[in-house]
Symmetry: C2
Amino acid sequence: MPDRTTLLIQYRALQATVRAGLGKPEVTAALVSLLEEAKAFLAENCSRAAMNSGVPGKQYFTFTDGARTSRPVNADLFKAEIDPSALAELAAAAQGPPDSLLLRQSLYSWVLTFCAANDVLFVSDQKKPGTFFEWFVGHLLARRYRTSPRKFTEVASLGMNTRIPTDFVFDLGAGKARIHLPVKTSTRERAIQVWAHQRVLDGLHGQNTFRGILVCVAETNKQVQANSVIEVCVPEQWRLYQGYIAQLHRVYYLDPPAAYLSLGAGSPQIPVKHFSEFFSESDRIVSLA
Amino acid sequence: MPDRTTLLIQYRALQATVRAGLGKPEVTAALVSLLEEAKAFLAENCSRAAMNSGVPGKQYFTFTDGARTSRPVNADLFKAEIDPSALAELAAAAQGPPDSLLLRQSLYSWVLTFCAANDVLFVSDQKKPGTFFEWFVGHLLARRYRTSPRKFTEVASLGMNTRIPTDFVFDLGAGKARIHLPVKTSTRERAIQVWAHQRVLDGLHGQNTFRGILVCVAETNKQVQANSVIEVCVPEQWRLYQGYIAQLHRVYYLDPPAAYLSLGAGSPQIPVKHFSEFFSESDRIVSLA
């Protein structure tokens, strides 16, 4: 029966494949295996409890084992019937697929399956869900670009000759933009760090050398007392960051807040999209043409 | 006898005076009263336990009531005999005093008295010590500049006409630089936020309109298993932030790490000093001459 131990064993097995390199086929297999375990836990041990939604047009529930509850789960995006093994097709595809409701639901369901199972099994552990999501996104981009990311950048300026730690960075070789890939389950007050890191990379390597691609799950906030969920968004602050700190090239969400999607039409523009759209625009993202 | 309840009563009383305005004499009185309470708690209920120091040239101890322990306390800077009521003189002084060991010890002892007492009484509460330190520093600058700070800035650009939240900002009127005053007990990975906020203010209001003054307690990190203390510093990253994001005018510490003090001699220069030095250079800090 799936439990803390069996989930942790699968998580550690995934971690071992990640150490060998994101983008390797072994990572896909370990991701699928971990998701099968988490899916079985939710199916066998948890039921759904409705939440009061403070988000217009969206309904949320939590998974619960009777004692502990998960983060909010978007009822329109989470589909229990979605098969973890279908992730292998997406990870293997050289192009596309185009954006679709099924692709949105698949990406969301895979990620929330692990996060919700971990929430119920490991109360107040934010670390494994955050790290899992980094691996999940980093691996899909590594597969798509046939390149493993690094987590540092070279510094040869200001009298230094060293490396500093970064989020994932992809170097696709001559003639392609490089990618700066911060990955966060939600941004909260940490969003400004993403723009600031982008500015440091712009300073070190020149404007438009690194394209900043931020990938997030959602901006939902669970209010336990009221059993309700709201989205916490600061679109005016994001416009200041995009206007005065640096430019992000894309912000992708699995469950995008309407307040951020509308920034795609503003000035300064911030292209905020469903992460599902990445797979059909992945070539354009790195094109210098 | 001092306990959780009596400390909390004094904390709430201080909070009420802060709401009426930092810089008012009532805040000084409430700070002194809170510190007397915290000092009595430490004297009557706590003993000192030595720590293994991983910081060259510095010795640390913790306060403990036998069951719970405080954050690390620098043994050369904390002097139990320092009187909370002497804070009233510093808050009332129009100029100086010059930097001295006694002033360094006084500032450090006042702040650590509350933080250590709160650590022992309210396990894993980081919020009250952080807020207390914001009030403590914000009040001393408000007294010195005879001006209450605000916590927002006007935005009339990028198609917006609104206010956004900031750290403390002081507007001293025509002919003086304004001050942007972030206050943090330690910076950790949040330091980059300070430079990024400074850049947004530079963009909104023009370069050198706001001078960025970061005030911190220390960068000590307690390692519970080993009963040891280290300093966590990333001076190379700070130089990148100062070179590529924005310029901070001062960084003050109560217990400054040597790795950051040495940034005052580098390029790009970051003037890192003892907070005690502020009081004799407060006029120069805001001078446009």
